[in-house]
Symmetry: C2
Subunit: 205 residues, 2 copies
């Protein structure tokens, strides 16, 4: 029996995962936490086999939490998961000692596979992750300087026109950059860029 705990500040997502795992008889959800600190407490209390944790959480983020967990309990396997394919986040989770990484839009099958794989002491990184596709997992700087700049401004809440005024370029240029960013990140849809920019507010270089 694989005993797991889930950490995710979004309760509805936890509920979804729990529901999804109900049919997997060898996997048991023994606890859940809504922030990093609660996760640490929970792990100390229950000592699960596998921890599934969001990157971005209140109080303590998933990366720091993973570091602490792996220091105290090296045998516990941690799977990180987040909304987007953030190369840096994946690398940081790996450095922190995580055994796996999946994305929130991954299928149930992927989730289950990830849990079983890490429980067998193997690592599992979602095949959708860009980091897996390209060999060089160190410097994978996909976005150009200008694109990063524009992404940052999007995250700050600026519209294309506002950005064009801030950077003294045309609105059309900003739109082109947006499209290129979307293409590079393999995203579609209306608000994805905004969400991505805000979500990854981390590590803008």
């Amino acid at each position: 029996m694989i005993r797991i705990v889930i950490a995710e500040d979004h309760q509805s997502l936890i509920d979804g995962i729990k529901l999804s795992l109900q049919n997997e008889l060898d996997i048991q959800v023994i606890g859940e936490a809504n922030d990093g600190e609660a996760l640490i407490d929970l792990v100390r209390l229950k000592e699960p086999n596998v921890v599934i944790t969001d990157i971005r959480m209140p109080k303590l983020d998933g990366i720091s939490a993973t570091r602490i967990i792996k220091t105290e309990f090296p045998t516990i396997d941690v799977i990180g998961f987040s909304m987007f394919d953030q190369t840096d986040a994946v690398a940081q989770m790996r450095d922190a000692g995580a055994s796996g990484y999946i994305m929130k839009n991954s299928s149930l099958a992927t989730l289950v596979e990830a849990i079983r794989t890490v429980a067998k002491k193997k690592s599992f990184f979602d095949s959708n992750l860009m980091i897996e596709k390209n060999t060089s997992l160190t410097e994978e700087i996909i976005l150009s300087k200008r694109e990063l700049e524009i992404l940052r401004l999007i995250g700050e809440g600026n519209s294309s026109v506002e950005i064009s005024e801030l950077l003294f370029i045309g609105k059309a240029t900003v739109d082109t950059h947006r499209k290129n960013i979307l293409k590079k990140l393999n995203m579609h849809g209306k608000n994805d860029l905004v969400r991505y920019a805000v979500e990854r507010k981390y590590d803008f270089t």
Copy 2:
């Protein structure tokens, strides 16, 4: 001389604040941090008079950082600041021991005033904050259950149509809720709701 440190994961914002404070001769920025853990280290090292910290930061968030700082250095005054008027965040910062709270879109004058006020051991909470306007600062539940639900779904990246399908209601209804939420939060503009929903991913009740 008021010695302050700034914590904010968005370097450009730190730069902006520093620039703004250059002309204030009695205020000196003696350090900056891009995450909660770095902030704690910095405070221990430099022991400033005032700390200005973002709520949402990698590793350790502003609320937890404030709690730690106030435990170790009760005389240091902390000012929280964030993008939006999150009633819960303000309350939590207050509980953690913060002396003030301002919003990122506050004017420079407000920022300077806040710093000087807390340095005088008085508390400063931005007059724009809803919490200040309404007397009952405990339960200030502005958004209805349905509105919160929709806001959550927006944060998860769903469009109005998708939300309407998820909740078995019409698209028009979702739009109305959006408009009401915007009105209640006093927001305008295209992506504000998305950004707000993602930013406040915290504490959805």
